[in-house]
Chain length 210, copies 2
């Protein structure tokens, strides 16, 4: 396939294609036309053709797309063929829920450790790992070449922890704290999940539907 | 204020304004200029002025915005002055984490009940509520006029539960199951939180930063 740059708009849609193609694979569907995929995804067929044309000649007139091939190609673009070492900082219910998402591990995100400041949580076992005290965080990150930190800590604690993680060589932060992290290190990528904002959008749409 | 329709693009940015204004209030800041707000939020001052002009004459030359007034006005637009009765279906770690988010209750989303099929979870107490068996779901939804259901169930279970909820008069579904729910009832609003897709976006950006 070509090395041309894929637009941000397409990139943002890729995880959704990836999810749908994964479901087709689970159902042993080996090929699909853009019209069929269009119906399933609720996107126009022409949008699908345009988007997937970025990945070279997988779609063929009268054949459609080879599901497995396209799935793997999108995985490559998304960097999912890599394996990422992940830690979870904040091991309450949300941290534990994320540790137990087996889907993440299937996609290459392997949780190597969990951390918390709360003595009631330190030492408990989550998915076969003992929750560690925050004192041990620095050594663990450095010794295990941790790539990604998942932050499920209060918003008042998140900025300082994020700064430390950047110094210790982390590459990405998946932030669930309700604060926009200002990271001065441009090599570190932050992806925020602001759950409250999603709930407010739901509220707006409920109100607006009346 | 006027009754003119506010554009979707502005609506999508409102929860973020709301969050920042809430932080200003917490810090006892009563007014702020668009320039100051711009620096904090990393958005241009002209974008902020344009967006907030939708809410009438709150910004005054040489004074800036009255934080409390603007905060309340945005809350109204988002429907946050309403109180919503919420249930959580799926009371594992994620469901419990969401039940314990006190921020949601502050914004009017009051959790009234939790449900699960798992006998190990039915009967346990989460935030003073006993997790109920799914058998009791229908009566509970109807008798308590539940507005919003939070779904943290497997993707194979989510569509059937969502359809039942629509029949029983629910108004909104906050869906954490990794599936796009097809709801035929247009009065019911669905907001999806696809955590895997956010993680894939992080993966792409880490890969792209090299």
């Amino acid at each position: 396939m070509s090395d041309k740059k894929i637009s941000t708009a397409v990139i943002k849609r890729l995880p959704r294609y990836y999810r749908y193609l994964g479901e087709l694979l689970e159902n042993d569907i080996v090929r699909i036309s853009s019209n069929e995929l269009s119906q399933r995804m609720g996107v126009t067929a022409s949008q699908i053709r345009q988007d997937l044309n970025n990945f070279g000649g997988f779609g063929q007139q009268g054949y459609g797309y080879n599901v497995n091939h396209l799935y793997k190609e999108i995985a490559k673009i998304l960097g999912l063929e890599n394996h990422y070492s992940v830690i979870i900082i904040g091991s309450g219910n949300l941290g534990q829920a994320l540790a137990n998402y087996t889907d993440f591990e299937k996609r290459g995100f392997v949780v190597k450790g969990l951390f918390d400041v709360n003595p009631r949580l330190v030492g408990i076992s989550v998915r076969g790992m003992d929750v560690q005290d925050m004192d041990q965080l620095k050594d663990f990150v450095v010794e295990n070449n941790i790539d990604i930190a998942i932050l499920t800590v209060p918003k008042t604690k998140a900025p300082a922890i994020a700064n430390d993680l950047c110094e210790w060589g982390i590459r990405g932060i998946w932030n669930f704290a309700p604060v926009d992290l200002q990271i001065s290190n441009f090599d570190v990528v932050v992806e925020n999940v602001h759950l409250s904002e999603s709930l407010m959008t739901l509220s707006y749409r409920i109100k607006d539907s009346y």
